[in-house]
Amino acid sequence: MATTFDVVIIGAGPGGYVSAIRAAQLGLTVGVVEKDKAGGVCVNIGCIPTKALLHSAEVANLMRHAKDLGVTAGEVQTDYGVAMTRSRKVAEQNSRGVDFLFKKHKIEMVKGTGKLLPGRKVAVAKAEGGTVELTATKAVVIATGSRPKDLPQLGLTIDRSTMISSDEALLLQAAPKTIAVVGAGAVGCEFADVFNAFGSQVTLLEVLPRILPVEDAEMSDVVAKAFKRRGITVAAGAQIQKAEKGKGGVTITYAVGGKPQTLTVEKVLIATGRAPITENLGLEAAGVKLTDRGFIQVDQAMRTTAPGVYAIGDVAGPPLLAHKGSREGMVAAEAIAGLKPHPIDYSGVPGATYCHPEVASVGLTEEQCKERKLEYAVGRFPFSASGRARTAGETDGLVKILSGKKYGEILGAHIAGAHATELIHELVVARANEYTVEEIELAIHAHPTFAEAVAEAALDAMGRVIHI
C-alpha cells in the first residue's frame, strides 16, 4: 500500500469523496482515510436512507387515499422494519457506488481513524489493527464531518435506546408507539413525518416559535398545518424544562406560552443540531485553529491556519449540508492543484427538507428582507391554483419569490409543496446568475407542470399574475 500521496483526505463523506475525485481528475494522487463506510453520514446514516424512509412514508400516505383515486388495495399496513431494511440496502448501494468511483479514479481508501500530524502527515489507526503513517506531499484535507448533538443539561442525553439520534432512528426495527421529536429543523420534521406515516403518535417539540425556524414563516405554516391534519402534535415555542427516563419511557416537562405540559413517550428523538468532529484529530498540535463556535477556521479556498492543511464540509462551518460540503471539496481540490476556484457564494446554498409537503429555499426569508430594510416585492403562487397540482392531489403549499423592488433581482425564493426540493433549482440557478424575475418569466414554462407555479410567482412579483 502506498503511504505517500499528493493529497490525503480524512473522511469519505460527501465533502471528502467529492474532493478526492476532483483532485484525482486534476492528476493528483489521493489517499482517503475513512473509519467506516465510504459516503459518510450522507450516504450511510443521513440524506440517503432518510429519503428512502420518507419515500416509504409517502407511499403509505398515498395508499391511505388511494380509494379516492379509484384504486383499492385493501387495508394499508406498514412495517418500519421492512422500510428500514430497504433504506439500508439503498444506502449500501450508494456506498458501493462511492467505492466504485474511488477505484475508477485510482483513489486509495485507507480504513481506519486518521489523526493529523505536523508536516502534512496523517497517522492512521487501522481498522484491522496497527497504525500506518501517510504523507501528503501537497495537502491534507480534513473532512471529518459532524455528529448529532444532545442537550444533557435538560436530561436529553443520547443513550441509543430510548433517547436516540437520527443515527439510531434509521436502524429501528419497529416504529415506536409514541415518540417525541425534539427540534423541528429539517431532520426533526422529516422523522416526524416518517414515524407518523408508520403509525407512531408523534409530538414535535420546537423551542422557537415555529417549526422549520430557518425557513420563511409561510413555509413553516404550510408544513405545520399539513402535520396537524395528519395527526402530528406540533408544539412550537416549547420550553423544555427536563426529560426523565422512567418505566413507561421518557417523561418530558415543557411549557408552551407559560403553560406547563408533560408528555410521556416510548422514545425521544433528539434532533437539535449537529456538532463538528474536531477532537482527537491533532488539530492544535498541527496549528489548525478553530472558530468561536468550534468549527475549523478556513478561508475562501478552504485553507486552515496550518499551511498545507484544508478543511471542508460540516467540520469547516455552517450550513451543515452535504451539497455545501461537496462544493467545498471541489474548491479545496482545485486550490491544491494550483487552480483559482471561484469562491463559494454561501448565500446561494439551497436548503431542502423532504417531509411532506417538502420545503425548499434559497436566499433570504421575508423576515430577513424586513430586518435588512430591503425594498422588496413578494410574488406568490399557491399550488391550489395549479392545474397540475390538482391532478396530483397535491394542492398544499405555494411558491414565494422575494424580489428587489427596483431591479427585480431574486433576494430569496421559497417553495412548500410537492416536488419543492426539485422545483427550487430553477430559482437557485436564476439567483446564482443574477437573473431577475423578468428573465424567469420570459422563459416559457411547460403546461401543465408544477414549475408553472414558479413562473406565475415571478409574474406575481411584477404584479402580472395570470392564474389567480
Partner: protein
C-alpha cells in the same frame, strides 16, 4: 456552386463603390484572391478580389456604375453551371466583412472630414478585441448578469469598462456597484497616494495608457456637463483655438546642416513639426485622446495624421508611433505616404487611426489659419508659413524666422490650459530642436 460577387466594404467608412474597371472579362478563369475589378471608394481606388476559384460567368454591372455595398456585381461559378437562379434573386445582404478593418457604418464620421476614426494601432490589434473605427461605442457581448446589465443601464455605465469578477470574468452586481465609485477617482487617489510630492507626475500616471493599449476614463458629472453644454453651444465639436508664434531660427539651421550632409539626411520642416507634436503628445496624454460620448479615451500610442491635399479634396495619412520614430524615418514615411495619397493608393489602415493631426499650409504662403478637427481626435495643429518677421528681442527690433501655429482643440476633452501647455511643449522643441533628442 456558383457564388455571387458583391460590392465589399473596402474601407471602414465605405457605403458605396464605383466600378472603375473590370480586370476580368466574362468567361475568364479566376482564382481566389485575383483582382476582378478596380473600385473607387470614398477614399481610394481599391481592388475587388475573387473569393472563389471558377469562371467569371456574368458581369452584372458595367464599368462606371456606382453601387451600394452588398449589391450584386458579378457571378463566379463553374464553366457550364446554371447561374440563372443566382441572377434571379437579388443579393439580400452584404457578405461578412472581408476588407481590412471590417465594415463599419459611416455615420460617425462627417463627410467633410476625410479621416476615419482611430482604430488602436496595428500593434494593439493583437492584444485588444477589434475596436470598430467608430467614435460611439457599439454594442458587443460582454459576459454579464441580467442584474448587472440593468444596474449599468441605469447608471449609464458601459459594461465593457467594468472588470468582471464572476465566473470567467462575468460582470456581476458587485462589479457594477464597485465601478460606480469611478475608476477615475480611484486611479487619481492611488496615484496621489503613491506620489504625494509630485502631483504633476500623479496626473500623468492617472491619464497615461499602457503602450499599445488605451485607457478609458469614465466621465465625471462635471465633465459630462461641460461636454453637453459646449456641444450645444457650437456644433458637434466645440472647437476653440490657441495660436502661438514659434521662432524657427534654430530649426532652420538644423535643417540646413542636415541637408548639407547630403540627400540622405534631408528632412522637411513638416517632419520636424510632426516629431515635435508626437513628443509633446507623449508628454501630454490628455491631448492624445478622444471624446466617446460617455467617456474620454486616452491612447497609449501616438499616431500623427498629416493632411495631404489631393485632387478634389484632402486625406490624412498617418505616421504611426511617430514619437518613437527618428526624423529620417518620419521623413521617409511621410514622403511615401504623401505620394501614395496623391495617387489615391492608400490602404485604409494608412489613413485611419490617427490620434492627432497636423495640417500645414505654409507652402501656400498662408501666415496662419484654423483647421477643423478630424473626429474623434481631440485636436489638430494648423501650421502657417515660416517667414522672416520683425520681432522684438531683448527690447531691440530684430528679424527672425517665425512660424505661426494654431491648435484647434475639442473643448470636451482639452481645456484651455491643457492645450496651452501642450502647445508650449511643441514650441519649446521647435525652438530648441536639440530638446527632441532628450
Amino acid at each position: 456552386m456558383a457564388t455571387k460577387v458583391v460590392m465589399e466594404a473596402l474601407s471602414p467608412t465605405m457605403e458605396e463603390g464605383r466600378l472603375v474597371a473590370w480586370k476580368k472579362k466574362e468567361g475568364d478563369a479566376v482564382k481566389s484572391g485575383e483582382t476582378l475589378a478596380e473600385v473607387e471608394t470614398d477614399k481610394a481606388v481599391m481592388e475587388l478580389v475573387a473569393r472563389e476559384d471558377g469562371v467569371l460567368r456574368k458581369v452584372v454591372l458595367p464599368e462606371g456604375s456606382t453601387v451600394p455595398v452588398g449589391a450584386l456585381v458579378a457571378i463566379v461559378g463553374g464553366a457550364d453551371e446554371d447561374i440563372e437562379s443566382q441572377l434571379g434573386v437579388p443579393a439580400a445582404a452584404a457578405p461578412p466583412p472581408q476588407g481590412v478593418g471590417g465594415r463599419v457604418s459611416a455615420g460617425g464620421t462627417p463627410a467633410k472630414a476625410p479621416v476615419a476614426a482611430p482604430t488602436p494601432g496595428a500593434a494593439t490589434l493583437a492584444t485588444l478585441p477589434p475596436t470598430p473605427s467608430h467614435p460611439t461605442p457599439t454594442p458587443s457581448r460582454v459576459r454579464s448578469s441580467p442584474l448587472a446589465r440593468r444596474l449599468a443601464a441605469e447608471r449609464g455605465l458601459d459594461l465593457r469598462l467594468v472588470a468582471g469578477t464572476g465566473p470567467a470574468g462575468r460582470v456581476t452586481r458587485r462589479d457594477v456597484e464597485a465601478a460606480g465609485t469611478g475608476p477615475q477617482g480611484r486611479a487619481g487617489l492611488a496615484a496621489a497616494a503613491v506620489a504625494p510630492a509630485a502631483p504633476a507626475l500623479a496626473v500623468v500616471a492617472a491619464l497615461a495608457a499602457p503602450p499599445g493599449g488605451f485607457r478609458d476614463v469614465p466621465l465625471t458629472t462635471m465633465r459630462r456637463t461641460i461636454a453637453r453644454r459646449l456641444a450645444e453651444s457650437i456644433g458637434p465639436i466645440p472647437h476653440f483655438f490657441l495660436t502661438s508664434e514659434i521662432e524657427m531660427e534654430r530649426a532652420w539651421e538644423a535643417r540646413q546642416h542636415l541637408a548639407g550632409l547630403g540627400d540622405a539626411t534631408r528632412i522637411s520642416f513638416n517632419d520636424l513639426i510632426v516629431k515635435a507634436v508626437a513628443l509633446a503628445l507623449r508628454q501630454h496624454p490628455a491631448v492624445n485622446a478622444s471624446f466617446l460620448d460617455d467617456r474620454i479615451r486616452t491612447y497609449g500610442d501616438v499616431h500623427v495624421g498629416m493632411a495631404v491635399a489631393v485632387e478634389d479634396g484632402l486625406i490624412t495619412p498617418v505616421i504611426r508611433n511617430a514619437d518613437r520614430k527618428g526624423l529620417l524615418e518620419i521623413a521617409a514615411e511621410s514622403k511615401a505616404l504623401a505620394e501614395r495619397a496623391r495617387a489615391r493608393r492608400l490602404a485604409p489602415e494608412e489613413y485611419t487611426g490617427a490620434t492627432f493631426s497636423v495640417s500645414n499650409l505654409g507652402m501656400f504662403d498662408i501666415d496662419e489659419f484654423t483647421a477643423v478637427i478630424n473626429p474623434p481626435e481631440a485636436g489638430i495643429l494648423a501650421v502657417g508659413r515660416i517667414a522672416q518677421r520683425a520681432v522684438a528681442v531683448d527690447g531691440q527690433l530684430a528679424v527672425r524666422r517665425t512660424m505661426r501655429v494654431t491648435m484647434s482643440c475639442d473643448h470636451r476633452v482639452v481645456d484651455g490650459a491643457t492645450g496651452a501647455k501642450f502647445l508650449q511643449s511643441v514650441k519649446l522643441m521647435l525652438e530648441n530642436p536639440l530638446a527632441m533628442l532628450l
